[in-house]
């Protein structure tokens, strides 16, 4: 798994490359440190699929940013990931762009 973090002022973009599952989720979790960022974009264009281990991370990040008064966005969702988000109802609570 490859994770690239880019910060421009208060906006942070985290680009992930590779699947998010039980094996890789801890690695991603470690990278989800937002600092003072008020807008976090998780770019998952290069994520072919994501299991519920990944969903847990998305939910945690979303809640954290809500508490901080910031915004958490998920960008470039691939079909297999979209399927999972739809099935679990996550499409309705996450900001998908």
């Amino acid at each position: 798994m490859e994770i690239k973090v880019k910060t421009e002022g208060s906006k942070m973009t985290i680009a992930v490359n590779g699947r998010v599952d039980t094996v890789t989720a801890p690695e991603l979790e470690a990278s989800l440190k937002f600092g003072d960022a008020t807008c976090v974009v998780l770019d998952i264009e290069q994520v072919p699929y994501m299991s519920s281990a990944g969903l847990r991370l998305l939910l945690t990040a979303h809640k954290t940013m809500l508490v901080n008064g910031g915004e958490f966005q998920v960008a470039n969702v691939q079909p297999a990931v979209k399927d999972v988000l739809d099935i679990t109802g996550f499409s309705d609570i996450l900001n998908l762009i």
Binding site: D21, V23, M50, S51, S52, K63, D83, I87
Partner: protein, 673 residues
């Protein structure tokens, strides 16, 4: 129908009872009425008879009274003794003379005359009928007759008659009963001989001693002894002017009147009751018929339900089976029929499938069908060869088959590994076979139908199926469905419809039915339409790995799976990888397993992948968990159960089993065509 007859009998008896009751009432009523009529007629007759007799008697007595007056006017002495003489001469009891004031001034009876201390009898003072005599004094009447009655003066029974005197006052004679009768008797003889009362009844007048004066029944009977009428008459006796008089009507006459009335009523009542009985009978029989029809319909529906329930009806019937697919459908016509299909394993890797059609319909057909189905299955499951199964089933069905019902069957037995099929055709329609890209009827010389004749041998045919090949069985309900002009659906149309798709699929069964109904164009389905299709899929491509419950092995399993699914379209592969990750994580983290394994099974026709995980952890059926609520907002969300939800939503079929201390979870996914 016995019930029907006894019902008719009951109605008839009820009507008869009602009739008898109403007749008894009518008879009683009219008997009573006719007696009343008779009595009333007797009463009316008496009034006429009374005045007739009085007229006769009065006429005689007035004549005597006028004779007395004449004698007195001529100068007959009027002292008491002379008047007594005159009374004797005129055959009356007494003679009196009254003055203008109504006082008796001369009389043959000294009691009437004035005596010292006692005034003369005065008519005006006596009042009552005596006072009416005063009408002779003032000239209103010239003659006056009292009825025979008890005397006002001394209580003796007398009839008084008076005539006026031109010189003033009046002459009065009085007669006792004997004198009265002596004078009047001759006038009454045969007086009523021509009177008839109520047809054949009449009047009899007698003397007080019972000698006949006038008898309606026998004229000229005067003087004979009279006996009172018996109970065969309605009658009444009244003494008129001292003459006992009878008015009588034979009861027979009244009875005839009653009988006529009763007969008329009987005819009317009878007609009405017969009409009512017929109406009631008709209504009841219509009701009973309706009830019986409803009952029959209920029972037929039950028979149909039982019959349906006896057929395997859960699809896919063998979820773990990768070598073949099997589908079947019975589209029943309104009437309960004798079609059936069946399939089951007859041994390791041997599946038997059949379609059958019983010659009879209705409940007998359905019962024969159940018997045939059960027999074939019980024999087949002993593992005997197909020909033997048919021979034994045939012999059993022939036993006691007095109605000569029979059943046509096409049965095949497939080796699920090799695709080799042996089959027997007992007089059934030829099946359609997909074979290496061609679709055609499998025409073989049929053997005899089952149940026709014992001891028959059954020919066995065979057929090698390649992966993707299929056999389609049906009953003639499909091919013999007519349209409005009587044209049958036919084998040609069926073949054309089936050839429309490159391979046989589950949907093919519905396509055939739709096309058949299009052909029928509204004509009601004539017969059961039963279809069964089996498709051989060949040996699956199977690969297996064993793992330890560690994160390293989990990562290894994921990459093994990725490699195994390399040839599968991206989206399906990704869905499978997500589902697999959920299951792997469960096993490694929560099951407490010491080892686990993954099997990937790929089959074609259709393209299908199946993942089977086995672990020796604690028993856990992920499918029994309730789905989490996916409608909650982010703050309320908890993670847990989402993984299983994803598995259930993306994979089909998903099955769980616990076998020999192991959890076995299988997830399938079809893709491609």
């Amino acid at each position: 129908m016995n019930a029907r007859r006894s019902l008719d009998l009951k109605i008839a008896l009820s009507v008869l009872a009602a009739f008898a009751l109403s007749m008894a009432f009518t008879w009683f009523l009219h008997g009573h009425l006719s007696e009343n009529d008779a009595q009333e007629l007797i009463g009316r007759t008496f009034r006429a008879v009374e005045s007739e007799i009085s007229d006769c008697v009065n006429e005689r007595l007035v004549r005597q009274c006028m004779a007395a007056r004449e004698r007195l006017e001529e100068g007959h002495p009027d002292d008491t003794a002379s008047l007594q003489d005159l009374a004797r001469e005129l055959q009356v009891t007494e003679v009196s003379i009254a003055d203008e004031k109504g006082d008796i001034v001369r009389s043959s009876v000294t009691d009437y005359l004035a005596a010292p201390g006692k005034p003369a009898f005065n008519f005006a003072a006596a009042g009552g009928q005596a006072a009416d005599m005063m009408s002779l004094v003032d000239g209103r009447e010239t003659e006056y007759c009292q009825p025979f009655r008890s005397n006002a003066a001394n209580g003796a029974w007398r009839k008084f008659v008076g005539v006026w005197r031109p010189s003033g006052g009046f002459v009065e004679i009085g007669c006792d009963g004997a004198a009265l009768r002596g004078l009047a008797r001759s006038a009454l003889v045969d007086l009523f001989r021509n009177w008839r009362v109520g047809g054949t009844g009449g009047i009899v007048v007698t003397t007080p001693s019972g000698l006949v004066l006038s008898d309606y029944a026998e004229p000229n009977r005067e003087g004979t002894q009279w006996t009172e009428p018996d109970a065969s008459f309605y009658w009444k006796r009244v003494e008129i002017e001292s003459f006992p008089t009878y008015v009588m009507i034979p009861r027979k006459v009244a009875a005839v009147q009653r009988d006529v009335l009763v007969s008329a009523t009987a005819a009317l009542n009878g007609a009405a009751l017969v009409f009512v009985a017929l109406l009631v009978g008709f209504v009841i029989s219509a009701f009973v018929r309706q009830q019986m029809q409803a009952q029959t319909a209920r029972e037929l529906k039950m028979a149909k339900d039982i019959q349906r329930a006896a057929l395997p009806n859960v699809f896919p019937p063998f979820p773990d089976e990768t070598h073949f697919d099997i589908w079947a459908a019975m589209d029943a016509a309104k009437e309960v029929g004798g079609d059936f299909y069946d399939f089951y394993f007859t041994g390791q890797g041997r599946v038997l499938f059949l379609v059958a059609d019983v010659s009879g319909k209705g409940v007998p057909g359905a019962m024969f069908m159940m018997r045939a189905k059960t027999l074939i299955k019980s024999i087949a499951q002993t593992g005997k060869p197909l020909s033997r199964v048919f021979e034994e089933a045939n012999d059993a069905l022939c036993e006691g088959n007095s109605s000569n019902t029979f059943v046509t069957v096409w049965a095949g037995e497939m080796n699920t590994r090799t695709g080799h099929v042996t089959y027997v055709n007992a007089g059934h329609n030829p099946p359609v076979v997909w074979h290496g890209g061609t679709v055609e009827y499998l025409r073989s010389r049929p053997s005899l139908v089952l149940g026709a004749m014992a001891g028959v041998k059954y020919r066995v045919g065979d057929l090698q199926l390649a992966p993707g090949d299929a056999i389609y069985l049906y009953t003639d309900g499909v091919t013999e469905q007519p349209n409005a002009s009587g044209e049958l659906y036919g084998e040609e149309r069926l073949l054309k419809t089936l050839s429309g798709s490159p391979c046989l699929r589950e949907a093919s069964l519905g396509t055939v039915l739709d096309d058949m109904r299009r052909h029928a164009a509204g004509v009601e389905q004539a017969d059961d339409c039963t279809q069964l299709a089996i498709r051989y899929r060949g040996e699956p491509d199977v690969v297996s790995w064993n793992y330890a419950p560690t994160m390293e092995d989990l990562a290894k399993a994921t990459s093994d799976l990725e490699g195994a699914l390399a040839s599968i379209p991206d989206r399906v592969r990704n869905q499978m990888l997500v589902a697999a990750d959920e299951i792997f994580a469960n096993i490694v983290r929560h099951s407490g397993a010491t080892k686990w394994s993954l099997t990937v099974e790929k089959t074609r026709y259709p393209d299908r992948v199946r993942l089977i995980t086995t672990d020796d952890g604690k028993a856990f059926d992920p499918l029994s968990r309730r789905d989490p609520d996916t409608m909650l907002c982010a703050e309320e969300r908890a993670i847990g159960g989402l993984g299983i939800l994803i598995v259930k939503k993306t994979m089909s079929p998903v099955t769980y089993r616990r076998r020999s201390g192991k959890n076995i979870l299988s997830m399938g996914k079809d893709y491609g065509d």
